[in-house]
């Protein structure tokens, strides 16, 4: 649409996301991905599909890598495929919508790989990016700590410079997949004190399989499942070659990493299986209640997808989309949290993760995951603060 309205404030552009361009290559790819998924994950039950985010399956990730569908936008010399942002978007949204097990690759593909590509040393890129692109390298995110949640700048984990590297001491918390991961991108303090806030922080590439002085302890989530962990470093030696980017520039690097983390379609597609089961259960219904509910959810989904593709379009053009990504993530979390509430108002039965009825099992699972939607990757309140800043209020 024409953007030449001189008199309107710059906010106009912030709230009016760009139109995603028609992309024939991406649409052709969509068919291939659907065909691939129809075969590869045909055996997964709806409940297993609902676990998509948490579904850990290295074989599936390798199969995806073998098709050239990981590290898609990266340069060929690092094992990438030099495909467009829109093509990558199609792969991500199709795997999520189908409920494929993405947990063994998605952190690496979405944020760790791009962070290394942007800030990593040549040696790091050459060693690791091809492995991620093959679906052969699991990453975890070492940001949160016991006393640094939303206030990430309060991190206390400290890397003391020593001969040939650092000695790291501190505790990372809520680290998803730390028990499976090959690497962590650790956000920590390399100089100064917590009072220095953004100054003196750095990112280190931690080898999770070969770092002495590091212990990983499981933390069960409210559903009794083991996904996240506590990772404790006790004077653990990290070689100097592990520094990502510039020492002391960790804050701006981690903000860039969070922008990758927040911008994708997973922020509103992680509960798709519940919506699909609900549509299946209500199919052909002439209940006005059912029609109103499915109509509303569909309208939300279509708007979210459009917004999210707008963000992808901005990223493809090299624009800063942090305000827009926060809008999509905040709206997406609300949508996904409403979904189980709406579903349960339409089915007269109790949610039960062990039910033989798919809808009830998926409902039980989604209800128990829902609180995390507005916490993980930045809480609702933090996102609204980002949006308010984008509007010039702070």
């Amino acid at each position: 649409m024409a953007n030449g309205h001189g008199g309107l404030m710059a906010m106009y552009d912030k709230l009016h996301f760009p139109s995603p361009p028609a992309n024939d290559a991406a649409e052709a790819l969509r068919t291939q991905v659907r065909d691939f998924l129809a075969v590869t994950i045909s055996g997964r039950t709806p409940l297993q599909r609902a676990e998509s985010w948490n579904g850990f399956d290295r074989d599936f990730s390798r199969a995806l890598g073998a098709r050239g569908w990981l590290g898609m936008t990266w340069p060929r010399r690092y094992g990438g495929h030099e495909r467009s942002t829109h093509e990558r978007y199609v792969v991500v949204e199709e795997t999520l919508a189908a409920g494929a097990p993405v947990s063994a690759h998605w952190i690496a593909d979405r944020q760790s790989g791009p962070t290394l590509l942007k800030f990593g040393t040549e040696a790091q890129r050459e060693a690791i990016l091809p492995r991620i692109a093959r679906g052969d390298c699991v990453f975890c995110i070492g940001m949160s700590e016991p006393d640094a949640g939303s206030d990430l700048a309060a991190v206390r984990t400290r890397a003391e410079p020593v001969d040939g590297g650092w000695r790291v001491t501190g505790t990372k918390l809520w680290t998803t997949n730390a028990h499976e991961a090959d690497y962590m991108i650790l956000f920590c303090r390399t100089s100064g004190s917590a009072a220095d806030r953004h100054k003196g922080t750095s990112q280190l590439l931690v080898d999770m399989k070969a770092t002495e002085g590091m212990t990983v302890r499981p933390i069960l989530d409210l559903a009794g499942q083991h996904h996240f962990n506590e990772v404790h470093f006790e004077a653990a030696f990290i070689p100097s070659a592990a520094l990502i980017g510039v020492e002391g520039e960790g804050w701006s690097q981690v903000m860039s990493e969070l922008a990758f983390e927040r911008s994708g379609p997973e922020r509103f597609l992680s509960s798709m299986q519940l919506l699909l089961e609900l549509v299946g259960a209500l199919q052909g219904s002439d209940s006005e209640l059912a029609q109103a509910a499915i109509g509303r959810l569909t309208a939300h989904l279509l708007a979210l997808r459009r917004l999210s593709r707008g963000v992808a379009t901005m990223l493809a053009a090299g624009q800063d989309a942090s305000t827009q990504a926060a809008i999509v993530k905040d709206l997406g979390a609300s949508f996904e949290q409403e979904l189980p509430e709406i579903a349960r108002s339409l089915v007269d039965a109790e949610p039960d993760r062990r039910s033989t009825q798919d809808l009830l099992a998926v409902l039980g699972y989604t209800l128990m995951s829902a609180p995390s939607f507005s916490l993980r990757g930045g809480t609702r309140e933090i996102l609204r603060g980002i949006i308010a800043r984008g509007l010039g209020l702070r």
């Binding site: 309107l8 404030m9 906010m11 199919q283 609204r384 308010a388 702070r394």
Partner: protein, 341 residues
Amino acid sequence: MDDTDGLLARTTERLLAEQVDDAAMRAAASGLWLEQAWSAAAELGLPLAMVEGEQGFGVALSDGFALIRLLGSRAIPLPLAETMIANLLLARAGLPVAEGVVALIPAAAGVRLDRQGEGWRARGVADRIAWGRNAAALVVEGDGRIALLTSGFEVSAAGTNLAQMPRDQLTIDGAAQVASWPGLTLLEAGALVRAVAAAGAMETLVQLCTTHVVERTQFGRALSGFQVVQHALARLASEAAAAAAAADLAVDAFVASAADAGLAIAAARSRVGEAVGVATGIAHQLHGAMGFTEEHRLHWFTTALWSWRDEFGSAGWWTRHLGAAMLARPKAAYWPTVTAV
């Protein structure tokens, strides 16, 4: 004509700023027809902007909808958007375009098109027709046909919507020029126009609120300094963004003549309808008592939004319509439909 450089948009904006100032807005709310503003807009060619070929200006459709959004962002009390879309549909049906204000009469209004000798006649009573009292022509739909009437109708009861824009009952009994019509229904076309205009008005709500909370001081600081105010505005902005995205989706589907354009329009109306409720509530809350007065400009936008969201089919109806369409397909078709719209 291609408006990629935004020349037409800028010219239109200037014209609207000159012609429809606050005094004109108040005059229109008191029931006056803004003849001067209409003539200026007509002289610029807005009523025929979207008409392709010799009869019109052939502005790219997406640019045409950007103008409609602009009209909405100023809550312009003139039937420009309706007339633009009506002329576009007339031309597409192979009928002549109309001079002056055109009103849309969707099939649901129940006006009948009957053969009469060689020609056709339209008969019936249509309720809540936008600017019926000013209409020089009507576009009527019925039985897969579309008709142009330039006479044979009169206002049988005058009314307005919540924004004091005329919504009149027309009694129709006149000769009509008729063409077959396989395209989008007039209800869908009208609904699309309202969704786009509403997205524009919601953008203005964000602007009015941002300005207000920065300027208004309480407890010794600007309202914008309170986190709860920041978060309310963030929510308003998000709803405005969602409404704009939903409207854009529908516009793109319309422009591409997509098979699922009807679904996209239904989704836009559903999403916009919900966003309006949230956004207008927040906007009034942030403005305090001042925003609850006739004097303040805020109500031009909120009252228009409260009306637009339920014109050409209520938001509730569009929501159920979309839901029924999605539930009529097998579960396996749900996601493919979402990506195709």
